[in-house]
Subunit: 268 residues, 4 copies
């Protein structure tokens, strides 16, 4: 397997537009769950950059359980993301839901995200792997770690080299939170693969108040970075507002993370 | 919601090429996991027809965990399925993995299957819903029943009317079998929706020896039909041979099912 | 292992007070979740006997999640169970929660129940196994089948010979019902052990309306009997009224079960 | 509820023999899974004390899945624990499996442990709560956090005041490790209760190599202490050797923990 760390020699860090995943610096990807408007995205993007984020996130195409829920601004959202990148200088990752969207999204995004609901979508994995773009693969909500690695293998086998994994919580009987964040996945994946491993504490917990603590835990056990939801005005969010940090909360979380990162020999 | 049985009046049965799902007759869909060769498919198709199957199944495009596993015969497999339909007179259901395949598959299949790994693939759900074909939606391996129904809603909302649900086992801590068949889903779904509910005991258990018992249980609790894997020569199967019934086992299973079906006022 | 069917010769049925588990007759154990009063228990006991139950159930000591919930009538409940047995002629199974209660409960009950919450309580398993009484062991809510069998091994190894297993649902992510009834456990356990296997559809589903369907399914896949909650007046139940059948519902369920049982070569 | 932090005023730390749980100092409980011999226990106890442990652990009575597995040295094990306490000056926590053992174990131990398999054993919870001893309650392997808190409520309601919770992993579909450590439980429990919250990364992961990382993560997200398995010679362990740290590994882990603890304003 290409993902296997025992099969690789030399450089194993992943570079995307000058951002290095897997090195001593922890990479914080931040932004809103969904691009809702030009104002919301730009305000949030500038705020997260100032706080220390190195990558922007924001959904233009949203995979919603119900067909009647807001499905994202789609192409208009992509244009806003492009402007946010230009204004901040930060590269952008955004989700792609279908093979037919890959070219359109790849024209704007620096990194394509395969979301949890599509981790087993092998056609999409092949397409993003052949797109020439970096790829971030979220763990399926009931995917084993082996399946997560094999999803990466589909992408690697299709030609991609800049591939990053992201733990985001699994489905269990515990219903106090949206998902159960499986942080043991971090050291376990790091044993097996050279691929950088990120953690998304926002989707896992679904509650902003718990995100900073779980972000610290992720860093403490070896995560190479974090994916965090920040919204300029969480109480006005169209989607997942409960799990979004305000810029102030995000700023405070980053400061706390710096101390933990230093304790494990990393920097933020 | 369109799926809601309380919102519908009149006829709620689903007719596909003369086969009626949701009526007093239980519909048995049978065939190999994967179309492996012309000989294997035709031999199996004739055998399952003779035993009482009303619909053929067979995978041309296979979603495999590893990119290095056999991915199906693809277009060649579709042609073989078309021949099997012609030879047997039975309609065909086969899985479609990507929006880009919908037209090609719809040109051959009578019913498009959205597999467990794609149940959350909203782009695909919309595309199959707009294809003009009947659609069979397998439950995601960690999907709640509400999410299964909402997946159907995507398909219905896109224009389809012939939609069928299929329970196929969920991921749990129990590892004695591949999945845990959640038969309580059958009466629970029937309370909420007018959509017919099938059960696939083959993928759920992963072991041929347990399939007949779980098929009987499915019928006893109200399933409208079954999806069963049959292979003319299970010991030679390229994929999932352990869970495939031989034609003899299938024939015996159908005979047993007839008795149980009669006990609950249905016929096979 | 003593439980292993490959290690046993000759008779493998389990006889308790003239009731034979594991033979061609399906054994229905019925009664209220909890003994609430003399009137409630006696009325229910007579009703279930008339409908065809062969064994009475009723909790005197209840394992409740909260210390402030009703914990059962305790010794008074045992006395009522003794009277119910006398009045109906049916043997009684009731739960024992602690080694210190074994002698007291064994003085009244014909069969001691180890509940789901105590399936891993090895001290209790040893004590009931040495009590000289028959033992019914419910599956722990997150116990593997292997662990369920090993719990039985504790009881068998302590000297008991009349031991019966009972599937009652496991914890999974699906929260539409209390537990996920794992019916595949039935044929799987029957492959491995000579111990009779019962199913409790009442606790598994937590909803009376689904109990008859799941009872039929249990019988169809090979269960040797059922454990069902019946309450003379479910709307007045102190505990688990939502999952209790009324005598009328129970009577109807038994009639339906007779047809399914016959279809699989059993009688009720 | 007594456990509720909103119902308590004043001091909420838990003091046991001079060790304070819930204060700024993180409490490390360490020792072997099982007391195997006098030499093994004393050697391990001295080593963990030197490395910084504040409390000793060691099982005298072991809850094993099979009745034929080693069940612990029982009373002899308790005597060895007493000697280890005397030699090191560290207080001792050990598991009690049955109400009939409470007095015997309480005569030796400073803190009684209710293990994961007995978390729902309400008779035992009441008995340890009335014993006059401090109590450590491990989360059941499929217990919700609410059930974990209610188990504590049984103990508190029976009279105990020195009660500590311990997260130790839950059962999920992921089978790469023994259990899935649910670290989100830490900040969530801390929101709801004044009870100190520990984490046991040894049982959760089942692999020594992952224990230090998960211990760091536990501290980073707010755990009040850790329970870690250390064995003087892990390769000779009778039970759970794979998850035991050697004294050298433990010493190194503590040093790493000190840095993380400091980063979150705690000390080890």
């Amino acid at each position: 397997m290409i993902f296997d760390k025992h099969n690789v020699e030399g450089e194993t860090r992943v570079n995307v537009c000058g951002v290095t995943f897997g090195g001593s610096e922890l990479i914080i990807i931040a932004g809103p769950c969904t691009v809702e408007s030009r104002g919301q995205m730009l305000e949030t993007a500038l705020a997260v950059k100032e706080a220390g984020a190195k990558f922007l996130r924001g959904g233009a195409f949203k995979p919603r359980a119900s067909p009647y829920s807001f499905q994202g601004l789609c192409s208009e959202g992509l244009a806003i993301l492009a402007e946010a990148r230009e204004k901040t200088g930060l590269p952008v990752v955004t989700e792609v839901l279908d093979t037919a969207q890959v070219a359109e999204v790849a024209a704007v995004a620096d990194m394509l995200q395969v979301g949890s609901r599509n981790m087993h979508n092998t056609a999409l994995l092949k397409a993003v792997g052949a797109s020439g773009k970096a790829v971030l693969i979220k763990r399926g909500m009931s995917a084993t770690l082996q399946e997560h690695l094999l999803a990466a293998e589909y992408v690697l086998n299709a030609g991609a080299r800049e591939v990053v994994l992201c733990e985001r919580g699994i489905r269990t009987f515990e219903n106090a939170l949206r998902f159960t964040l499986d942080l043991s996945a971090v050291p376990l994946l790091k044993e097996r693969t050279w691929l950088p491993v990120l953690v998304d504490p926002s989707h896992a917990t679904g509650r902003a108040a718990l995100v900073p603590a779980m972000a610290r835990a992720a860093v403490a056990c070896g995560a190479d970075g974090l994916m965090m939801e920040v919204h300029a005005h969480p109480d006005q969010a169209l989607c997942d507002g409960e799990q979004s940090l305000s810029p102030e909360m995000f700023n405070k979380a980053i400061i706390e993370l710096r101390a933990v990162a230093k304790a494990v020999g990393r920097i933020v």
